[in-house]
Symmetry: C2
Amino acid sequence: MKVIEKYNDSLHNPYWKYQLGKEAYEVKDTPQRVESIKKSLHSDERFDFITAKQFPDRLITQLHPYHDYIRNTALTLNNDEEEFYPDLFPGEGAHLKKRDDSPLWGGIWCTDAVTPIKRKTYEVARASAESALTGAELISQGQEKTVYALCRPSGHHAGPRVFGGYCYFNNVATAAQYLLAKGKVAIVDIDYHHGNGTQEFFDDIKSIFTASIHGDPEDEYPYFWGYAEETGKGQAEGTNHNEPLAKGTQLKEYSKALKRILKKIKAFNPAFLIIAAGFDTHETDPIGSFKIRTEDYETIGKQFKSLDLPTLVCQEGGYNTDVLGECVKHFLIGLM
Amino acid sequence: MKVIEKYNDSLHNPYWKYQLGKEAYEVKDTPQRVESIKKSLHSDERFDFITAKQFPDRLITQLHPYHDYIRNTALTLNNDEEEFYPDLFPGEGAHLKKRDDSPLWGGIWCTDAVTPIKRKTYEVARASAESALTGAELISQGQEKTVYALCRPSGHHAGPRVFGGYCYFNNVATAAQYLLAKGKVAIVDIDYHHGNGTQEFFDDIKSIFTASIHGDPEDEYPYFWGYAEETGKGQAEGTNHNEPLAKGTQLKEYSKALKRILKKIKAFNPAFLIIAAGFDTHETDPIGSFKIRTEDYETIGKQFKSLDLPTLVCQEGGYNTDVLGECVKHFLIGLM
């Protein structure tokens, strides 16, 4: 199986500490996450590493109105340590006379005050999206049946209005838009956190089916999206499916929920499948509360394989670097 | 002249440091601001200090949907130093299933990540609004022609959807709503920063005229509001007037702009006048860029006096505590 990578910069390393009730959490998107995955996949000769290609700007900019803001803000930083967070979030009714992409206007483009822009952020986010695009190209040309794009940063919280949640460009959405020229696309998000950005991108596009299986947003980020009643809009009603699951969910219930999603995808009959693959559903993940075991990911991979579709897997979250690589490996082996 | 005060807690002391281009700024809303004003007014026997009354909850809650959020968040804090800032700002299209007023949902209610809630914040904000209400009651009963409410925290950035910009409850809006039962109200905001919250409260209420004279939002907070073309909405078209002025504005140009506002107020013919009085227009203010001198405020006060209306002055900003008290005193003397 082809594994696509590009650029893993140690200088892009967001860190957020937060409190929910009496519980304190921290989320670290470190370069060690990529190292953990590479170590596991390098040890198995079935995985063949290739470097992502370059793609023209328009494949990124057409979906991301904040592209220039991210690039320009990164350019204003004076050194590798400096980071920019927006302070002000104007919300509805704001007169936006001056969308000049200066950092001052960050709150127009970013939905939170915890997703930093550092000097290298644009480059890594661009490389991450290009990894997904390279994978999309490979499966669209029929050269490969299943490919894995080792994306970092993640993309699934970045949407058509705003980015955030440690996501800058939506990798799976960028790949889906690319594949759409050749046929209908289904996207399934198995990260512990609902793929709100991806859902919002295609909420009213009936040729892309989106589904997400995740910790119930009543208690888990992104809180404001991911409920079962979000089923698509207008003509695209019925092309979004959310499976919010309770804390402590184990493989048995998880697989049932995934089965419901796969049944809908069969009915939708897409030409391509994209999996937004987070492994923060693992029982040891520091921020997730599911109880999926390392070997369970192979079973989950096999469930997806039953669809028998050209499949692009894009890496999303997963924060226990001791197990992340093995989780990815088991999942991809299940898909083989 | 009656001066209304209530509660000045040293434990509520927001501090925000920010960068605009190459310039670094800091805003401190310290209890010393109140001390500076009290010192100047105490030295003149024409000022008669009284304590604000208590008013029922509904006079605050009817305007401020985030009232419970602020009160409840303050109650969750464990000590006097702790402060809560929201992280996540869901914006448009968010499913808000669970508006349970927990701190987690702060980004629904607050428009920025720099306005803290501390343990004493609810109490001081409530006392500030009650100072304004006490003043409104005094002028509505005809007991006093002109009164000054020594409000801290300021209120004019707090609006009907969200609070922010160091403002929690909108003091002048609360007073205006109270006075509206007796007649039409005009509000003029002379703080260096546009009174976006006040404007938004009454943007479609044609019996309240709002005006603001401030640093051009092209360069100054609140950036997204305060432009000349914002003139009221629907039936209330024509009942809002903004005077964004350039950096370096001196009394001459300032007075001309104020004259344009006063002309409109005469035509509107209100029963009451409320002045949202900030003194960060002073030539030495650390965050404002106008060039108004201490003695100029007497001239500005006289301009307002020419309207010959029952007048409530509510304190807003002003951050040079060396001069703040004298600026207030000159302004109030002009109004006498």
